[in-house]
C-alpha cells in the first residue's frame, strides 16, 4: 500500500519520470501480450497445449469428470495409478477431469444442454432427474453382480427407478455419515451423544463452555443429510415406501420442535449461512462439540491438528423416538449420457472399478464404501487396523453405521426424480431454518413444505418418472 500512496503523492517532477516509466511499461506489456498470444495460437487448449501421450497412440479415449476428492491421495491414485493401469490394459487413453463439488449440477446442465461432454459423469447424489438423458445402467449392474454378488440395498434404492424399471445411474460407492463429537467436552458434561435427547440435554452446557453443537440449516449438502436423518429419527419422512409424499406428519412436527429447541439452547446462528465445509472448519478449529459429517472432519484434524483429532470420536447417529435411522453422507453415482461417445468402454470401466474396489476404499482412507458389499473383503478388520486412528480402532464404528444405520435419501421409498429435485432445492434445510428462526410454526412449516414437495412430485409423476 505504500507504493500506492507514493504514486498519488508524487511531485510534478516525479510525474515526468513516471510518465516515461509508464510508456516503457506499456511497450513491454504490449510485447509480452503479443508473445503470449502468438505462443498460444498454435495450441488447441493452452499456452503449451495439453500434454500428449508420448508412447504409442492409444486406440480409444474415455473421458471422465468427477469431483476433486477431499482426500488428495485418492485423486492421485485414481488419476495416476488406477486409470493409467486400466487404460494400458484396455488400449485406452483415459482423461480424468476434476470439478468442485458445488459445480457438479451446473456442469451437468451444461453438458446436457450441449448434448456433448464426458463419457462418464460423477454425481454425489442420485441424479434421478436426468433419467431421460442417460442409458439404462442395468448391464453394468448385472456384470458386477455376476462377480460380486448382490448389489447393496442402499445403492439399489438410490439408482433404480421401479416405475420405469431403469437403473438411471451406477453407484460405485457411498459414504457413511457418523456423528463426530469431542470426547473431552462431552466428558466434562458427563453425557454421551447416543440419543437426540442427550444431545439436547448437553447442548446448553456445551454452548456455555463456548463449544456449541453444529447442525447446519443452510442450503448445502451436509444440512440436507443431517436434517433429513434427524427427521427420520423422530418418525418424519418425506415419502412412504410407495413414493407418496407424507412430510406433513407428527414425526416431522416433532423433529421441527426439537430442532428449534436445540438451536435456541445449544447452537449459534452461523448455521444458517453454512457451506458444506463450515462444520469441518469449525470442528477442526476446536469450536464445535458435535457435528454430523463424514470422516472428512477427523481425517483433516489428523493432518492439521493431531491432538484435537485424538479427542474427536465417531458414533452412529443419535437415537430418536423412532429409533436410529441415518443417511449416507454422499452417494457416489456415475452416469453414462446417451450422447456419450464411448459407452462400451465406459460400461467396462465402471464394472472393473467396482469389481476390484479395494484400491478405492483404501486410498480414500475409508471414505468411499463399496456399493457392492462384497467388493471389499473384511471391511471391519481393515477399519480396525487404520494406522493413523487414535484411539485405535476409532473407525471400526463405520462398519456398523454402514451396515445398520445408512439409508437412501427418500427412505423408506426409493431415490427418485421428485426426491432429487427437492434435495437440490434444499427444501428440508429451509423448512428447519424457518422454524428455528421463528418465521413459521412447526405445523405451518410441515404443511407448507409438504404442499411444495407434492407439487414437485406431481410434476415428475405426470412425466412418468415417479
Amino acid at each position: 500500500m505504500t507504493d500506492v500512496n507514493d504514486v498519488h503523492e508524487s511531485t510534478p517532477e516525479e510525474d515526468v519520470e513516471i510518465e516515461t516509466t509508464r510508456r516503457e511499461l506499456i511497450r513491454r506489456a504490449g510485447v509480452g501480450i503479443a508473445v503470449i498470444a502468438t505462443a498460444g495460437m498454435g495450441a488447441k487448449t493452452a499456452v503449451a497445449g495439453a500434454p500428449k501421450y508420448t508412447g504409442r497412440e492409444l486406440k480409444e479415449t474415455l473421458r471422465i469428470v468427477q469431483w476433486s476428492h477431499f482426500v488428495p491421495a485418492y485423486d492421485k491414485w485414481f488419476d495416476n495409478v488406477y486409470v493409467k493401469r486400466w487404460g494400458a490394459a484396455n488400449d485406452t487413453e483415459v482423461i480424468v477431469d476434476h470439478i468442485n463439488v458445488n459445480d457438479i449440477p451446473a456442469r451437468a446442465a451444461a453438458e446436457v444442454a450441449a448434448q456433448s461432454g464426458h463419457d462418464l459423469f460423477f454425481f454425489l447424489s442420485p441424479p434421478a432427474a436426468y433419467e431421460d438423458q442417460v442409458i439404462d445402467h442395468k448391464e453394468i449392474v448385472q456384470a458386477v453382480t455376476r462377480k460380486r454378488g448382490k448389489i447393496g440395498d442402499l445403492a439399489f434404492r438410490s439408482t433404480y427407478n421401479p416405475r420405469t424399471k431403469k437403473y438411471f445411474a451406477f453407484s460405485d460407492n457411498y459414504v457413511p455419515d457418523p456423528a463426530n463429537y469431542r470426547t473431552d467436552l462431552w466428558g466434562e458434561v458427563g453425557i454421551k451423544p447416543t440419543s437426540w435427547d442427550n444431545v439436547l440435554r448437553a447442548a446448553p452446557k456445551l454452548k456455555a463452555m463456548g463449544n456449541p453443537v453444529g447442525i447446519g440449516m443452510s442450503n448445502e449438502l451436509d444440512s440436507n443429510m443431517a436434517l433429513m436423518a434427524l427427521m427420520m429419527c423422530f418418525g418424519g419422512f418425506i415419502q412412504n415406501d410407495k413414493n407418496r409424499v407424507v412430510l406433513n406428519s407428527k414425526g416431522t412436527r416433532e423433529a421441527l420442535k426439537f430442532a428449534k429447541a436445540l438451536y435456541e439452547q445449544g447452537m449459534s446462528n452461523e448455521i444458517f449461512a453454512w457451506t458444506p465445509a463450515s462444520n469441518n472448519q469449525a470442528m477442526v478449529a476446536g469450536r464445535l462439540s458435535f457435528a454430523m459429517n463424514a470422516i472428512s472432519i477427523t481425517r483433516t484434524a489428523e493432518l492439521v491438528n493431531p491432538d484435537l483429532a485424538n479427542k474427536i470420536e465417531l458414533l452412529p447417529i443419535p437415537a430418536g423416538p423412532n429409533g436410529r435411522i441415518g443417511l449416507e453422507h454422499v452417494m457416489g453415482c456415475y452416469v453414462i449420457w446417451k450422447f456419450a461417445k464411448n459407452k462400451r468402454l465406459a460400461k467396462k470401466f465402471l464394472a472393473d472399478l467396482e469389481t476390484k474396489y479395494i484400491g478405492a476404499f483404501e486410498n480414500s482412507k475409508f471414505y468411499n464404501f463399496p456399493s457392492w458389499p462384497n467388493s471389499v473383503s473384511n471391511i471391519t478388520r481393515r477399519l480396525e487396523r487404520d494406522p493413523v486412528a487414535k484411539p485405535a480402532a476409532k473407525y471400526k464404528v463405520l462398519g456398523e453405521i454402514a451396515e445398520k444405520y445408512t439409508k437412501n435419501v427418500g427412505y423408506p421409498g426409493t431415490s427418485n426424480a421428485g426426491i432429487d429435485e427437492m434435495f437440490n432445492k434444499f427444501l428440508i434445510p429451509q423448512m428447519f431454518a424457518e422454524v428455528a428462526q421463528g418465521k413459521r410454526t412447526p405445523d405451518d412449516a410441515a404443511r407448507t413444505y409438504d404442499r411444495q414437495i407434492r407439487e414437485i412430485f406431481q410434476k415428475w409423476r405426470d412425466l412418468g418418472k415417479v
Binding site: 500500500m1 504514486v7 509508464r22 476433486s68 476434476h98 470439478i99 451444461a110 444442454a113 450441449a114 461432454g117
Partner: protein, 280 residues
C-alpha cells in the same frame, strides 16, 4: 496558509486512512494466511496476527507451484485476457466512435441498448452457449472463452468509449480533415491518442473481467491444463469439505498483486476514463 493546508491534509488522511486500512486488510490477511502452516491456522489459541507451529513457511507456495497446474492457469488466464482485450479494442473502438458521433436519439438509444446487453447474466446464457461451443468443437479449449468473453467486454467497452469520445471536441477532427487527413488518419492520429485514458480503462477493465469470470470457464472447460485461475484454484484447492487455505490465499494473492499495481499505476487515467463522459 500552511496551517490550513496541514489541516486539510490531516482531514484527508482521516477520511481516506480508514478506507485504505479496510481495503488493504484482505491482502494482509491473504499474505499472513499464505505463510501459515495448517496447524497454526486451525489452532484458535494462536495469535491470528502472529506466527506459531512452524510458521512462517513457504510450503503453501511451494505446493501451489509444484503440485498443481498453477503456472499453466496463470498463463491461460493471461492468454485469454490478452486476446479478449485485443478483440474488444478492435470492435469497441470503432463502435464507440460511431455511436458517439451518431447524432440524435438513435445514437443514444443504441448506446443504452448495447450497455443493456452487458447486464444479461452469464448464468442465463451459459446453457445455450454450451450448445454453441459444442457445435463449434471448442469444448475444453481456451478458444471457447476467447469467443464468449467479448460478449460481455465489448458492450461495456463500447458504452464507456462512447461516453469518452463525446468529450473530444469535434473541431479537432474537423481541423485534421481540413489539413488533408482522411477519417481513419484523423482517428488514429488525433482521436485515439487523446482517448488514451479511456482506452487504458477498457484494457484494464476488460482484462480484469476476464480474470474474474467464473461461470463460462466452469461450464466450458474441465481439463485441468486448460483451466483459468478462477476455476483452477477453486477446483484443485477446495476438495469436498476441505479448504487448502494457505495455498488458496497464496494463489489468489499472486495474481492480485500485478493487477493492483496496474490499477494504481494508471489510476488517474482510469478515473479519467470512467468519468470522461460523465459530465456531458
Amino acid at each position: 496558509m500552511p496551517t490550513r493546508r496541514r489541516r486539510e491534509s490531516v482531514l484527508t488522511y482521516a477520511v481516506v486512512g480508514p478506507f485504505a486500512l479496510v481495503l488493504a486488510f484482505p491482502f494482509y490477511w491473504m499474505l499472513w494466511t499464505a505463510l501459515k502452516t495448517d496447524g497454526d491456522l486451525y489452532n484458535t489459541e494462536n495469535n491470528p496476527f502472529g506466527f506459531a507451529q512452524g510458521s512462517p513457511t513457504l510450503d503453501n507456495v511451494r505446493f501451489l507451484f509444484e503440485q498443481t497446474d498453477y503456472l499453466r492457469w496463470l498463463g491461460n488466464t493471461a492468454l485469454v485476457g490478452a486476446v479478449v482485450v485485443l478483440i474488444t479494442l478492435a470492435i469497441a473502438l470503432p463502435a464507440g466512435y460511431a455511436l458517439a458521433r451518431l447524432s440524435g436519439r438513435w445514437g443514444q438509444s443504441l448506446g443504452v441498448g448495447i450497455f443493456l446487453v452487458y447486464l444479461v447474466p452469464p448464468t442465463l446464457l451459459f446453457l445455450p452457449l454450451s450448445r454453441l461451443i459444442a457445435e463449434l468443437g471448442l469444448q475444453d479449449s481456451l478458444w471457447a472463452l476467447v469467443l464468449v468473453y467479448p460478449s460481455f467486454t465489448i458492450p461495456f467497452a463500447t458504452w464507456l468509449l462512447m461516453g469518452f469520445f463525446k468529450t473530444i471536441p469535434r473541431e479537432l477532427e474537423d481541423a485534421a480533415l481540413v489539413d488533408g487527413a482522411s477519417r481513419i488518419r484523423s482517428l488514429l492520429h488525433v482521436v485515439f491518442p487523446i482517448s488514451l485514458p479511456g482506452i487504458l480503462t477498457v484494457v484494464i477493465f476488460s482484462f480484469s473481467l476476464c480474470v474474474n469470470e467464473f461461470v463460462y470457464a466452469l461450464a466450458f472447460i474441465t481439463q485441468s491444463s486448460s483451466k483459468t485461475i478462477s476455476t483452477g484454484i477453486y477446483t484443485e484447492l477446495i476438495r469436498g469439505d476441505v479448504f487448502f487455505w494457505g495455498a488458496l490465499m497464496a494463489a489468489t494473492l499472486i495474481p492480485s498483486i500485478p493487477l493492483a499495481l496496474l490499477y494504481n499505476t494508471f489510476l488517474d487515467r482510469f478515473i479519467a476514463g470512467f468519468t470522461g463522459g460523465a459530465f456531458r
